[in-house]
């Protein structure tokens, strides 16, 4: 029996599988992924993951088809001493593979960079001098991490410091994340925001909430004994409720606000102490 064209068979199987699987993944599965679409940043991350999944699906399909085929068709049959066909390295095959993988990796790199610049940083921390900013005048919120809680400071409301976080809907927010002691990370899951909190560093991240509701806040970097207890629930509310809430906070914390350090992009850490 002449050797069938394994190459053509694999090609056909692969194309068939990709044509079926890729739209299924891209249209049905991917848009439902977390973190959802509560902010434009979160929605942007879902889009990114969808694109990446769209690329990864045909690659995965190629591997699945190749392996299933090879493992079934090229398995050992017949009597014992029996050898595979000696094929030395084929330059064309190797070249194709190198070019293809390089292209995919390059695409991912370029795409990621474009998205980062075009999309107000996709919710990630951009350091003290952000490159990708939203247009207009964002609401500034300073996130001060310390062992083991976050507090929020609003410079445009007299520098009041609050233990919980509420944000107005449809308004760009500019987070300034910093820490008083260890390295923490401010993660507001549904907002699609994650920014490391380093002592003495002003780490800026943006988000624009597009719907009201609650979101989870967690510390995402091990920061000592009670790292696991560093979580809270925040609220995205209408602009009027936000104004009412922040006025209330200003009144409530007025005595404390008078004693705080003047508003600053970073504060000196506490003197060293053992807390672990």
């Amino acid at each position: 029996m002449p050797e069938p064209s394994h190459f053509r068979r694999i090609l056909i199987l692969w194309i068939a599988l990709s044509v079926i699987a890729t739209p299924l993944v891209v249209i049905l599965a991917a848009p439902g992924l977390p973190p959802g679409d509560a902010t434009s940043e979160a929605a942007g991350q879902v889009t990114d993951n969808t694109v990446l999944l769209g690329i990864a699906t045909p690659i995965a399909a190629l591997l699945v088809v190749y392996f299933a085929y090879a493992l079934i068709v090229f398995r050992h049959r017949g009597p014992e001493p029996d050898e595979g066909v000696a094929i030395r390295g084929d330059n064309r095959v190797q070249l194709t593979w190198i070019v293809a993988t390089a292209a995919i990796v390059l695409f991912a790199a370029v795409y990621g960079t474009v998205r980062i610049f075009g999309d107000s940083g996709a919710g990630g921390g951009q350091g003290p001098n952000p490159i990708a900013k939203p247009s207009g005048d964002p609401l500034q919120v300073q996130v001060i991490a310390q062992q083991w809680a976050f507090t929020y400071r609003f410079p445009s409301f007299g520098g009041v410091e609050t233990p919980h976080l509420e944000l107005p809907v449809d308004q760009d927010v500019e987070f300034h994340v910093t820490s008083l002691d260890a390295i923490h990370s401010f993660w507001a899951h549904q907002l699609g925001v994650k920014a490391d909190a380093n002592p003495g560093v002003d780490n800026v991240a943006y988000a624009r909430p597009t719907e009201t509701g609650s979101f989870d806040i967690r510390c995402a970097e091990l920061c000592g004994l009670f790292h696991g207890h560093m979580f809270d629930t925040g609220q995205v509310v209408s602009d009027s409720s936000f104004q009412a809430w922040i006025r209330g906070q200003q009144r409530e914390f007025a005595p404390a606000t008078r004693n705080l350090n003047p508003y600053n992009r970073g504060y000196l850490p506490h003197p060293e102490r053992r807390a672990g």
């Binding site: 991350q45 029996d82 050898e83 066909v85 390295g89 990621g112 807390a275």
Partner: protein, 611 residues
């Protein structure tokens, strides 16, 4: 000489340099350091008075423990007798029975077996910790452990695994098989080889002792400033990793020296087996990276004891410096795991596909290039795309035989592919915002490390242990082990990707209650995964102790030199150094009848004349 030793009474044999003396002197050394530290503490450093935790004492104890231990084991015998002008013996305990395994032995095959068991014990402890973590995560709020103990267990698990996995393949398999593959009678530095093993054991003891000193809440990364705040249980972490680093460096140097200088005539670089290439490039990485880790850890130790402030903002230092130094080690570490595993799978897949390794040169260059690249972060995930396909190509029109080692190799490939694809998401910056620091990362690195390393480790065990012990494994138990392990592994770590995306952070015992069902699923799968290891242990017990069926000398019909030797391998491997005159991977070119080397293996050319 040997029989004379055996005739001595038991009490006489217990006196002298051996494991017992090592333990006694080690404990004595610890208490000496502890005492010394308290002398210093009491006299000069008032700082400690308010913390009630004397880091100086503990650090000195941990310093003198391994020193006493290796002296007791007999490592000082050789330098001492040289210093006294005596004629030293050129090897130690190479002849003899089981006793060789409990002391200093310069036979690389004995050291390989010691490593195998030692590493197994480490993995076992690390695995038990994993079971405890998963038990805690069955519920969304802390049930079993307080916050401190939970973090200690996570840190013990992570550091234990990361610490030994770099030696997990080099220790047992490179020590045992590299000399056999390149036609050498021993390693370049046999005493150093033995030392690396015992240092690793001392490191393990030190690390586990952290539970007596309050543990440490820093995870395996031990970042500043947590490492300075931590209780003095963190001193165990420092000395564990420092000793592991020392052991790794010496192991790497020894392997490099062996492969470079001790190849038999005709074993040109172009004929060096892939496994040896993997070992060589890994060793290069270990030798470059591990000393940096040791230095960083010593600096932490100074911060904690001598009041320096390398990593403390309050004293003008920088915590990021520690992070950077740590990842200078941590990054290559990932490849330290990958490269020898690739070497193993290349060996096994060619033998089982009965086919020449596709593109030996390309695999080779990528192996070396990966080693170099691994020092640069950006290329972190490219290698996955670049290397695996060659193993795929090796399967092309092969004649694949599904033995247990082959199954483990294929599973390795599968897991590694998933690890690579998930790395694709992590390397994409926008997507990284939601995945970084979450269980997504956890899933990713368990797929690459556990799916990569541990599966390759078992492939190597099923492939080579029949040569090492001369006994064969029970095939049925081995297959049960494989399938339970493979399925449970995927059902444990696959859902973690979803958990991560849904917002589950790492290193916490408290999580949102809507994540509980998935966490229960993962925990139960993890317990099954743990149970699959018991199947393996049962197989070892049954095959190696109870049934004891002898293995063939060359069951896989490999052409590599180690398989041409008789089983068990004679103490000095070869009577005369062999001469190589053909490539190691000439499968698929008849004739291929297995070529047995006559017992005693004198002057064989294992790859007979074909040019």
């Amino acid at each position: 000489m040997n029989t004379a030793a055996a005739e001595r009474p038991l009490w006489r044999r217990l006196l002298g340099f051996n494991l017992l003396a090592g333990i006694v002197l080690g404990v004595a050394g610890f208490y000496f350091g502890w005492w010394l530290g308290h002398q210093i503490h009491a006299k000069s450093l008032a700082y400690f008075a308010d913390t009630n935790q004397n880091d100086v004492a503990l650090l000195l104890g941990y310093l003198f423990f391994p020193i006493g231990f290796v002296i007791g084991l007999g490592f000082a015998k050789y330098p001492l007798s040289r210093a006294l002008g005596r004629e030293p013996s050129h090897h130690e305990n190479e002849e003899g029975g089981l006793g060789r395994y409990f002391g200093v032995c310069t036979d690389h095959k004995v050291v390989g077996m010691q490593y195998m068991v030692g590493i197994g014990v480490f993995f076992f402890i690390g695995g038990l910790n994993a079971m405890l973590i998963r038990a805690e995560l069955l519920r969304p709020s802390p049930q079993l452990f307080g916050a401190g103990n939970y973090l200690t267990i996570v840190g013990l698990h992570g550091a234990m695994m990361m610490g030994v996995m770099s030696s997990a393949i080099l220790g047992p398999f490179a020590n045992y098989f590299v000399p056999l593959m390149i036609g050498a009678k021993r390693m370049a530095f046999p005493r150093i080889e033995a030392l690396t093993f015992w240092l690793l054991m001392a490191a393990g003891v030190i690390f586990v002792s952290t539970i007596f000193f309050g543990g440490f809440p820093t995870g395996w990364t031990g970042y500043a400033p947590l490492n300075d705040q931590a209780n003095f249980g963190f001193d165990s972490y420092i000395f564990f990793f420092a000793l592991v680093g020392l052991s790794m460096t010496l192991l790497g140097l020894n392997l490099i020296a062996t492969i470079v200088t001790m190849r038999a005539p005709g074993m040109t670089w172009g004929r060096l087996p892939m496994f040896c290439w993997g070992v060589l490039s890994t060793s290069g990485l270990m030798v470059l990276a591990a000393p940096v880790l040791i230095a960083a850890l010593l600096m932490v130790a100074f911060d904690r004891s001598l009041q320096t402030s390398f990593f403390l903002t309050s004293g003008g230092g920088s915590p990021y410096l520690f992070e950077n130094l740590f990842w200078f080690f941590g990054h290559p570490e990932v490849y330290v795991v990958l490269l020898p595993a690739m070497g193993i799978t290349a060996e096994i897949i060619t033998v089982h596909g009965r086919k020449k390794l596709f593109g030996y040169k390309t695999v080779l260059y990528t192996t070396i290039a990966t080693g170099i690249i691994s020092f640069f972060v950006w290329a972190h995930h490219q290698f996955v795309a670049g290397i695996d396909p060659r193993i795929m190509a090796t399967l092309w029109r092969a004649k694949i035989r599904y033995t247990v080692p082959m199954l483990f190799c294929l599973a390795w490939f599968f897991n590694f592919f998933i690890g690579g694809v998930s790395g694709f998401f992590l390397s994409d910056t926008p997507s990284d915002v939601s995945t970084h620091g979450s269980f997504f990362v956890m899933a990713h690195f368990h797929y690459t490390i556990m799916g990569g390393l541990i599966f390759a480790f078992f492939a190597a065990i099923y492939y080579w242990v029949p040569k090492m012990t001369g006994l064969r494994f029970n095939e049925r138990l081995a297959k049960i082990h494989f399938w339970t392990m493979f399925i449970a592994f995927n059902s444990t770590f696959g859902p973690l990707f979803a958990l991560g995306l849904m917002g589950m952070p790492r290193r916490v015992a408290t999580y949102a209650s809507n994540l509980q069902p998935l966490n229960i699923w993962v925990s139960v799968s993890a317990f099954v995964l743990g149970a699959s290891m018991l199947v393996f242990l049962a197989n070892v017990l049954y095959s190696m102790v109870i049934a004891r069926e002898p293995a063939e000398a060359n069951p896989w019909r490999s052409k590599s030199l180690e398989w041409q030797l008789p089983t068990p391998v004679p103490v000095h491997n070869f009577d005369r150094i062999p001469v190589f005159d053909a490539d190691p991977y000439d499968y698929g070119i008849p004739p291929v009848a297995p070529r047995h080397v006559p017992a005693g293996a004198s002057g064989v050319a294992p790859y007979p004349d074909r040019k």
